[in-house]
């Protein structure tokens, strides 16, 4: 009852003094806006990492064996020199893993590069993501063929001059015409289009559909990797529970092949989707730690402004407070009223901040590859924070108001 009265009064006050109220809560608005924007983007990234990124880069239940980790932060020059000296991965490594691995799994090689692809009529597209891979690559990466077919293991072994195009590449090269059976030219070599992939979308703003995939021993390998060498070996474990087992086995196989003594570290990298998530989790933890500090500063400043405004408001209404006491308001009623008013004021600011913050995050999502995801939990946290700041900021003015002597307050000019 008093709560309703308090909120009503506070809203009245805000309505009556729109500009003053706005300036009173601007610190809270900025703090909450900042919080919402950042949290929305981080949450968006989180979801993105979980749903798309980790899967696209590494694939589900897949171990990626490569010379150095795919995702790196703050790599020192020394570290780089060590990585460069590592032995390259070969087709033989992949064959050895396929033969020796006990855990049931699919094994494929993969090398990548970039280049141009031209159609027979002279249409040429640039910056195409070129991949040479073995036949199981499509199953490991869960790449669905929209039209035509993927290449087969025998085609891969003999290095048949066939290519599967990404959705966008096919579109750009052939338009409405059927690409199947047509020839394309990549790095001077001719390939026959035997399939087109389903549309994949984008990752960080990059198209995943502007690509061409040819057998690992085809002529395209001359573009993607030196002879006999591959970028990555992919191992997709049939049973997710056997990931650890598979990781250990692959590590053991490679250590033997590279003749590493027990005291020597691995000279290759094993990555899984979980690793990339761990990497991202680390980044987001840093963000979550750093931003509250900044948000906190904004909220403290906002709280101080509100405290000042409330002190002035209590002063201005000394007589009113005297009157309220005269007609039966107890100390706690006065404290409650002032606290509700300042919490409403600041909660109101938080709402504005949430609105602007979400808007900003959407803007960021629209103009940059960063995704945005609105989290109801954080909206609730923001409102609570806003109201909390108001309550803390209102404590001192409220106790000042409650301590007013009604006799003095009623005579206050």
């Amino acid at each position: 009852m008093l709560l309703g009265e308090g909120i009503r009064l506070a809203l009245q006050q805000i309505r009556a003094q729109k500009l003053k109220s706005f300036f009173a809560v601007i610190g809270v608005v900025i703090g909450v806006m900042f919080l919402m924007t950042v949290v929305t983007v981080i949450e968006g990234m989180n979801r993105y990492m979980k749903e798309d990124f980790a899967r696209t880069i590494y694939g589900l239940n897949t171990i990626t064996l490569s010379r150095w980790p795919e995702v790196q932060i703050n790599t020192s020059a020394e570290q780089w020199r060590e990585w460069i000296r590592r032995p390259r991965l070969t087709f033989e490594d992949a064959d050895a893993i396929r033969e020796q691995l006990d855990v049931p799994a699919l094994v494929a090689v993969e090398s990548g590069g970039g280049g141009r692809v031209a159609a027979e009529d002279g249409t040429e597209i640039e910056n195409v993501w070129l991949t040479t891979a073995s036949a199981d690559y499509f199953r490991i990466r869960e790449l669905k063929i929209a039209r035509g077919r993927a290449f087969t293991a025998p085609e891969d072994r003999i290095g048949a001059p066939v290519v599967i195009l990404g959705h966008e590449a096919a579109q750009k090269l052939f338009g409405d015409r059927d690409p199947l059976g047509r020839m394309v030219k990549i790095a001077g070599h001719r390939f026959r289009v035997i399939g087109v992939l389903e549309k994949q979308g984008t990752l960080f703003g990059m198209s995943l559909d502007n690509r061409a995939i040819a057998p690992s021993r085809s002529m395209l390998a001359r573009v993607t990797a030196p002879h006999g060498v591959v970028d990555d070996i992919l191992i997709r474990v049939d049973d997710p529970d056997q990931m650890q087992q598979a990781l250990m086995e692959v590590e053991a196989i490679m250590r033997v092949r590279h003749r590493l003594r027990p005291d020597q570290p691995n000279d290759f990298a094993l990555d899984t989707a979980d690793d990339s998530m761990a990497f991202w989790t680390r980044i987001s933890r840093i963000l979550y730690l750093a931003f509250p500090t900044l948000v906190g500063i904004a909220l403290v400043v906002g709280g101080m402004v509100i405290m000042n405004i409330m002190l002035v408001s209590v002063m201005e209404r000394t007589r009113e407070i005297g009157m309220r006491k005269a007609i039966g308001a107890r100390r706690r009623d006065i404290i409650f009223q002032v606290l509700i008013e300042s919490a409403t004021l600041s909660g109101f600011g938080a709402l504005i901040g949430i609105g602007i913050g979400i808007g900003l995050a959407q803007l960021v999502a629209a103009v940059s590859p960063l995704p945005a995801s609105i989290s109801p939990v954080w909206i609730a946290v923001s409102v609570a924070l806003g109201a909390g700041v108001g309550i803390v900021a209102g404590l001192y003015p409220a106790s000042r108001a409650a301590r007013l002597d009604p006799v003095v307050a009623l005579r206050y000019e």
Binding site: M1, Q12, A16, R324, A326, G328, D333, P406, V407, L410
Partner: protein
């Protein structure tokens, strides 16, 4: 009969410390007011009449002496208990009305009921009938700025009456009103008195005090005279 004594003070004193000086505002006031009396408290400034009013209104506590309000010893109550007494037993009417400027007449009158914890529906009904009683049934949704001085004071009187207080305590209620409006307000007080309301009027104006049936005059913190008149002006 104790029950008929709405106010009884015994040797009420009040001292203030003003800088290094001790001001003895009241120096032993014995006052009894019975139910349905209409008392004016007069006296020059510095006589202690405001101090006495604050004590009677439970806005302040005496330095010594006892004060019974409606049979209850209130001179030794805590802050919160005094707030409850002010809410239930005393209806204040101020010189400057002291209404909430942004609230309607109805809401202003409701205010004491909010602090008394009365549910919203009952509040509205009681506030509406209190406004009817002071002749403002048509002005319930008006804000103070939309009302004349006399109407504002009527709203304040309705607010004072809302909890059926033991005493209506008016401090210079006509101080901010012209003489015609003053007469209207005094006529309203007369009606309320006729209905059985106990009224205490603090004023320095003789012609306002003339409406009361009994005039208590203070001087230097003591009761100088206490005159009961039979032929009061109504």
């Amino acid at each position: 009969m104790i029950a008929q004594q709405v106010i009884r003070t015994e040797k009420l004193t009040k001292e203030y410390v003003l800088g290094s000086e001790i001001v003895r505002a009241l120096r032993g006031v014995d006052l009894v007011v019975e139910r349905n009396e209409y008392v004016a408290i007069m006296g020059p400034s510095g006589s202690g009449k405001s101090t006495l009013m604050n004590l009677i209104g439970c806005l302040d506590t005496p330095t010594s002496g006892e004060y019974w309000l409606n049979g209850q010893l209130v001179s030794e109550l805590s802050d919160d208990e005094l707030a409850r007494i002010r809410n239930k037993e005393i209806g204040f009417v101020f010189q400057t009305f002291n209404l909430l400027p942004r609230a309607t007449a109805l809401h202003n009158v409701e205010l004491p009921l909010i602090y008394a914890g009365v549910p919203a529906k009952e509040r509205r009904e009681r506030a509406a009938s209190a406004l009817e009683r002071v002749g403002l049934a048509q002005r319930m949704d008006h804000k103070p700025s939309e009302l004349s001085g006399g109407q504002r004071q009527r709203v304040a009187i309705a607010r004072a009456l809302i909890n059926n207080p033991a005493i209506l305590l008016a401090d210079e209620p006509t101080g901010n009103l012209d003489s015609k409006t003053s007469e209207e307000i005094m006529a309203l007080f007369g009606e309320l008195h006729a209905d059985g309301q106990t009224i205490i009027l603090v004023t320095h104006e003789n012609d306002i005090a003339a409406f009361a049936h009994r005039v208590v005059t203070l001087r230097d913190g003591l009761i100088e005279s206490d005159v009961v008149r039979d032929a009061a002006v109504v």
